[in-house]
C-alpha cells in the first residue's frame, strides 16, 4: 500500500461509448513502437466479450485465501486483434487492378468486434451498457505479485503502478497475474507495458488524457485521502462508486458508479411493462459485488430527493459542472515530493486543476 492513492471514478450512467478516451490515450501513448495493438484505455460493451476477448475468464488475481491465481496470456491475433493498416504508400503506384484501398492483414478480431450487441431479445428486453476500462492501479496488484524480476512497482507518493523497463525481461507472468488483463506485452522491445495513469501529465497539473478528453464528463480524478475531492465523496462518503470485480482481491482504485438507468421491458404486444428494468441486477452484482445494491439505492434516493427538493450534493457532483471540481491533482504535493527526492519540481503547464489536500485552490504555491 502506498502513502497516498490517486483514484479515478467513472460514472457508467453517463458513458456514451464514443471512444474519445480510447483515442486520447492511443494518440498520447500507444500508437507506436510495438504498442499499436494495446488499448491502455478501452471502452467495451457489456455484456460482451470485452478486450482482450473473454478477459474475465483468463485467470489471475487472488482467491479468498490470498493466493495468486494462475492465468492465461492472451494471443495477440486471436484475443486482442492485429491493428491493421492500409496501403497508403503503394496505392498511388500499384497497377489498376490493385490500386484499391485495402488492409494489410485480413482482420479476424479486434476490440469492440461485438460493439453494441449486448444481450437479451430485441425488442422485448435487449440491453447493454458501456464499460470503459484502464489499469486499476490496484492496492494489491496481481501483476506486481506475479513478477519474478521485481520489475513492477507501486509509486509510494500516489500509488500509480508502473513497470521498470530496465528490470523487465518480458517474461509475461504479470499478464497472467492481472485479472483485468490490463498489462500488455510489447513484442518490439520484449517487455511489458501498461497504463501509467498519465503520471507525467498529472505531475504537471494535467489530468489523465482519457479523463480530460471525456465528452460525457464521466471521469473524476483525485486522491482518496483528500476529503474535498469528488473522488473521496463518491467512493467513501456516498459509497456510490465501487471497484470492478472486487472478488479478484486486487483492491482496484478505479471506481465505477453503476448504471442505474435502463429502459423498461416490452411485453409480447410491444407494450411497456411498467416498473420493469432491462438491466439484470445479477449482472451488476457480478461486476461490482454485493455493495452494488446499497450504491444503487443511494443513487435512486438522491435522484428522487433532487427531483422533489431540487437539492442533492451527490447529483451535483455527478452532473459534473466544472472540470476544476472533478480533477484535484494536488500539484503542491508533487512539488514537495520532488523537493524531498532532490529533484527539480516541474512547473505546472495547466493551473486549473492544481487544488488538493496539500494545495490551496486558486493558484500555485
Amino acid at each position: 500500500m502506498s502513502k497516498r492513492q490517486l483514484a479515478m471514478v467513472m460514472d457508467l450512467n453517463k458513458c456514451i461509448g464514443c471512444q474519445t478516451c480510447t483515442v486520447a490515450c492511443k494518440t498520447q501513448w500507444t500508437n507506436r513502437n510495438g504498442r499499436e495493438y494495446m488499448y491502455w484505455n478501452n471502452v467495451e460493451t457489456y455484456p460482451g466479450t470485452g478486450y482482450p476477448k473473454n478477459w474475465m475468464e483468463l485467470g489471475g488475481g487472488f482467491d479468498a485465501a490470498g493466493d495468486l491465481q494462475p492465468g492465461v496470456i492472451p494471443n495477440l491475433e486471436a484475443d486482442y486483434g492485429v491493428p491493421w493498416d492500409y496501403n497508403y504508400e503503394s496505392i498511388m503506384t500499384e497497377s489498376a487492378e490493385h490500386n484499391h484501398f485495402k488492409p494489410h492483414v485480413s482482420p479476424t478480431w479486434g476490440p469492440n468486434w461485438d460493439e453494441d450487441q449486448g444481450a437479451g431479445a430485441f425488442p422485448q428486453d435487449n440491453y447493454f451498457f458501456y464499460l470503459p476500462r484502464i489499469c486499476n492501479h490496484c492496492t494489491n496488484p496481481g501483476c506486481l505479485s506475479a513478477c519474478p524480476r521485481d520489475a513492477i512497482f507501486k509509486r509510494e507518493q500516489d500509488g500509480v503502478v508502473l513497470v521498470d523497463l530496465d528490470r523487465c525481461q518480458g517474461y509475461r507472468y504479470c499478464i497472467a497475474g492481472c485479472p483485468y488483463k490490463k498489462i500488455y506485452f510489447n513484442p518490439k522491445i520484449s517487455k511489458s507495458e501498461k497504463c501509467i495513469l498519465c503520471f507525467p501529465r498529472i505531475e504537471q497539473g494535467l489530468p489523465p488524457a482519457c479523463a480530460q478528453q471525456c465528452v460525457g464528463r464521466i471521469r473524476f480524478v483525485g486522491f482518496l485521502d483528500d476529503e474535498e475531492s469528488q473522488v473521496y465523496k463518491l467512493v467513501h462518503q456516498y459509497k456510490v462508486a465501487i471497484g470492478l470485480r472486487p472478488d479478484y482481491g486486487t483492491q482496484p482504485n478505479v471506481y465505477y458508479v453503476p448504471p442505474t438507468e435502463s429502459p423498461a421491458k416490452f411485453d409480447a404486444e410491444g407494450k411497456i411493462i411498467e416498473g420493469s428494468t432491462r438491466l439484470p441486477i445479477e449482472e451488476l452484482e457480478k461486476l461490482f459485488g454485493p455493495d452494488v445494491h446499497a450504491a444503487i439505492k443511494t443513487l435512486k434516493d438522491e435522484m428522487k430527493k433532487r427531483k422533489e427538493t431540487g437539492v442533492s450534493e451527490l447529483m451535483d457532483i455527478l452532473i459534473a459542472y466544472q472540470h476544476a471540481d472533478m480533477f484535484r491533482l494536488d500539484n503542491n504535493y508533487y512539488q514537495e515530493v520532488a523537493k524531498e527526492q532532490k529533484r527539480t519540481p516541474l512547473a505546472p503547464v495547466d493551473t486549473r486543476y492544481l487544488a488538493g489536500k496539500f494545495t490551496k485552490a486558486g493558484g500555485h504555491h
Binding site: 500508437n31 495493438y37 491465481q69 494471443n75 495477440l76 509475461r172 507472468y173 497475474g177 520484449s190
Partner: protein, 400 residues
C-alpha cells in the same frame, strides 16, 4: 558445521567414483586466442565433451496456466558440455537436443524462444559454500550469462533513442523517405538477445549494462538440437576463475513456453582448468554423492514432518509454504541440502513475491534479514542428516 563438512569431505574422498553425481569437466588449454570463437570454429576439435543432466525447475511454480500444463511432469534433459581456455578467456559449448527451433518472433504476444544460460559463482573470499543454485544467495553472488534465440528487438529506451519513437504514419513522409525511416529504425534494433546479470538470489538479478563484463555468446540450431557457446574473460570485477570453476547450465524450450523459472537446469558442475591446481574439496563435493542411507532418510524425513510443507514428489499436494523438493536432488548439491537442514536461514532468496501467497510467508524479515519460517533441524544427529540428504538426492525427474 565445519566439523561435519570436514568429516563428510573425507568420506567423500574415500567413496568410489561410481557414485559420482556428475563428473568434472576438463577445460582444455589452447594456445590460439579464443577471441571471436564460434560454434563451428575448428578449435572445438580440441575439446572434451562431458554429459550433464538438466532438471526441470520445480522449486516454485510460476503462475502461467498454459505453460504449467505443458510442463506438468517435465522430464530431465541431457546436455553435452565442453570447455576451452586460453589463459585470458574461457569458452564453453553446450549442446542439447530440442525438436523444434523456437524464436520469440513477430508481432505476437505468445511466442517464446529457446535459450541457454551459464551461471558462474562470483568471486568471494572463500569459494565454498557455493552460491545457491537459484541465482545465488546473500553474500554469495553469481554472474549469469543468458542467450536467447529472440528475433531482434528494438530498445529505444536502452539506447536513449527517443527521436525515432514515433509511429511511422506520423513521420509526415512517404515513399522513399518513409522507407529510409523504416530502415533507420530497423538498423537501430539490438540484434542479439544476450544479457548478463549479477544476482544474490532468485528475483534479485540485475542486468550488467556498463560493459564491465567482457563476453560473447551465440546459439546455432541444427540436427534437432542447439549448440550454444559462451566466451568470457577469466577475471573481471565479478569473477576470478582459476583451478576449478563451478558453473551451472540452464536451457529453455520455447515450445513449452519456457522463460525465467520455466527451464531445465543443472546442479553446480566442476570445470577443471587443465594444467592448473584443482580445488580438490570442491571437486569432491560436486562429484560425489552423500554416503547416507536413502531409505532411512525417507523415514527420518517423514518422522520430522518435512512433507508437511515441502512437496516431495508429484503425487503430494502442492504447497505455497515451502519450495517443492521433487527435483531438488537433480539441481542441488549435497552441501546445500545439508546446510538447509541445519541452518534454514543460511539461504533465503528474495524469491517469488511473498504477496503472491501472503498467508503462507516462507520467511520473515528481522532487522532487514530474511529469516526462514522453516524449523531448525540442527538437533538431528549427523548420520540422520546424511540419510536425509541421501534421500533428497534421489528426488529428481527421470531423463527424457
Amino acid at each position: 558445521m565445519n566439523k561435519i563438512l570436514t568429516s563428510l569431505l573425507s568420506l567423500g574422498l574415500a567413496c568410489s567414483a561410481a557414485l559420482a553425481a556428475e563428473a568434472a569437466i576438463t577445460a582444455v588449454k589452447v594456445t590460439d586466442s579464443l577471441d571471436g570463437i564460434k560454434a563451428d570454429s575448428a578449435i572445438w576439435s580440441n575439446a572434451k565433451f562431458s554429459t550433464i543432466t538438466l532438471y526441470p525447475q520445480t522449486a516454485i511454480e510460476m503462475n502461467d496456466k498454459k505453460a504449467n500444463e505443458l510442463t506438468e511432469n517435465a522430464k530431465a534433459k541431457k546436455a553435452q558440455v565442453a570447455a576451452l581456455y586460453d589463459g585470458k578467456n574461457i569458452a564453453l559449448m553446450v549442446k542439447w537436443a530440442d525438436g523444434s527451433k523456437d524464436l520469440q518472433s513477430g508481432y505476437a504476444s505468445t511466442t517464446y524462444s529457446d535459450g541457454f544460460a551459464v551461471q558462474f559463482a562470483g568471486a568471494t573470499a572463500k569459494p565454498q559454500p557455493l552460491p545457491y543454485i537459484g541465482m545465488g544467495s546473500v553474500g554469495r553472488p553469481v554472474v549469469v550469462h543468458l542467450q536467447k534465440a529472440n528475433e531482434k528487438v528494438y530498445e529505444p529506451n536502452g539506447n536513449k533513442d527517443v527521436g525515432n519513437q514515433i509511429n511511422r504514419q506520423q513521420t509526415g513522409v512517404f515513399g522513399q523517405e518513409l522507407a529510409d525511416f523504416d530502415a533507420k529504425v530497423a538498423s537501430l534494433a539490438v540484434t542479439d538477445y544476450e544479457r548478463i546479470f549479477v544476482g544474490e538470489g532468485f528475483r534479485s538479478l540485475t542486468e550488467v549494462k556498463d560493459g564491465s563484463i567482457k563476453s560473447n555468446s551465440s546459439m546455432v540450431y541444427g540436427a534437432n538440437g542447439w549448440s550454444g557457446i559462451l566466451t568470457r574473460s577469466l577475471k573481471d570485477d565479478y569473477v576470478n576463475l582459476s583451478g576449478t570453476v563451478p558453473v551451472s547450465i540452464a536451457v529453455w524450450d520455447g515450445s513449452k513456453m519456457g522463460r525465467n523459472g520455466l527451464k531445465n537446469l543443472s546442479s553446480w558442475i566442476a570445470i577443471n582448468l587443465d594444467g592448473q591446481k584443482q580445488n580438490a574439496a570442491m571437486v569432491t563435493d560436486l562429484t560425489t554423492d552423500s554416503k547416507g542411507d536413502a531409505s532411512k532418510g525417507k523415514a527420518a524425513l517423514e518422522a520430522n514432518g518435512c512433507n508437511g510443507c515441502h512437496q516431495m514428489n508429484a503425487a503430494d499436494p502442492k504447497s505455497f509454504m515451502a519450495p517443492s523438493l521433487k527435483n531438488v536432488g537433480g539441481y542441488s548439491t549435497a552441501a546445500y541440502l545439508r546446510e538447509s537442514i541445519l541452518k534454514p536461514s543460511a539461504v533465503v532468496v528474495p524469491g517469488y513475491n511473498r504477496n503472491a501467497h501472503s498467508n503462507t510467508p516462507w520467511y520473515n524479515l528481522e532487522k532487514g534479514k530474511r529469516i526462514s519460517t522453516m524449523t531448525d533441524y540442527s538437533h538431528l544427529d549427523k548420520a540422520t542428516v546424511e540419510d536425509i540428504v541421501a534421500y533428497l538426492k534421489t528426488l529428481k525427474a527421470e531423463v527424457e
